[in-house]
Symmetry: C2
Subunit: 180 residues, 2 copies
């Protein structure tokens, strides 16, 4: 609760517009003034609807979890029944990477710092992580797989692997090792 559910339409509009600016133009382009401008109002008026930038970030992060979670669940559900754990984890990992690469700015916002858990709808975080947790089996391995997936993703997004490195190979090597 408390998330977007009981939020007025103007708040939902603000989050939608903010996500649009973020994804199209990047983090630096999303300011209280630019957001207000796109909504046809002045920056201070935003504060009639939203407490401040931290809350806006939290609302965008929650929406990001919903969207990413949907992609992961979809991939997980699409796996043929009786798949090996390796195949299942491979499918989820592929969806994870694909979603993040398609929404780099939002992914960075969602993962680049502490999670504002007190502003997040209850259960959302766990629901988003569910497909990965299920595919990994053991809790320790689930955490390891999550760390691996996030590491691969953020390092790729930030261009920190050597140029020309075969990241597909690293992904499959890691997933196969972790799913054993």
């Amino acid at each position: 609760m408390s998330g977007v559910i009981d939020a007025g339409p103007r708040v939902r509009e603000a989050v939608t517009v903010a996500l649009d600016i973020l994804e199209r133009e990047g983090r630096d382009a999303l300011t209280m003034r630019s957001l207000a401008g796109r909504m046809g109002i002045r920056a201070p008026s935003l504060y009639k609807h939203i407490r401040g930038k931290e809350e806006l970030d939290a609302l965008m992060i929650a929406e990001g979890f919903r969207r990413a979670g949907a992609a992961l669940h979809e991939a997980s559900d699409a796996a043929p029944p009786g798949s090996t754990r390796t195949a299942l984890l491979l499918a989820v990992a592929h969806a994870y990477r694909a979603w993040a690469l398609a929404h780099p700015h939002l992914y960075r916002l969602m993962t680049g710092g502490p999670l504002p858990r007190d502003r997040m709808p209850e259960g959302l975080e766990a629901w988003t992580a569910e497909p990965l947790v299920r595919a990994a089996g053991d809790p320790d391995l689930a955490r390891a797989a999550f760390a691996f997936a996030h590491g691969m993703t953020i390092l790729e997004l930030d261009g920190r692997f050597p140029p020309g490195a075969d990241l597909g190979g690293a992904w499959t090597a890691g997933v196969e090792a972790l799913a054993r």
Copy 2:
């Protein structure tokens, strides 16, 4: 070259003081004004020595790579000869985690975004990564291990694992899987 080697003493002092502020008080506390203040000068005077904040960041990042690399090499060199790859990777991973947890703000600065490679001393990045690469063996597995280590580390630093989760277990599970 071009790093700190040919830098004047005032630049080296600036980097030292900046690292001190960063590690003690966090990223937000490190501003051009606060840095200048600690050096007994005004902010604009900093620009007589340093091009701007990006260059300061790059200098701090390079110094971070030197320090982290020293810790990793030390751990790697301390491993008894004839160690299994699992034992070696475990030792390096432990040193990686320990160093990052001891220097959270610097670690975040070093890894939280694209690496300014054109401002980094040549070969430093590869030297820092060397112990991990050597312990992993295969290049694909080295990248996977790097991603895993960074993922575990940054997620722990940001408190993104469930409170009370046994991260030691996740570390060993991941390392053992990757070193097989």
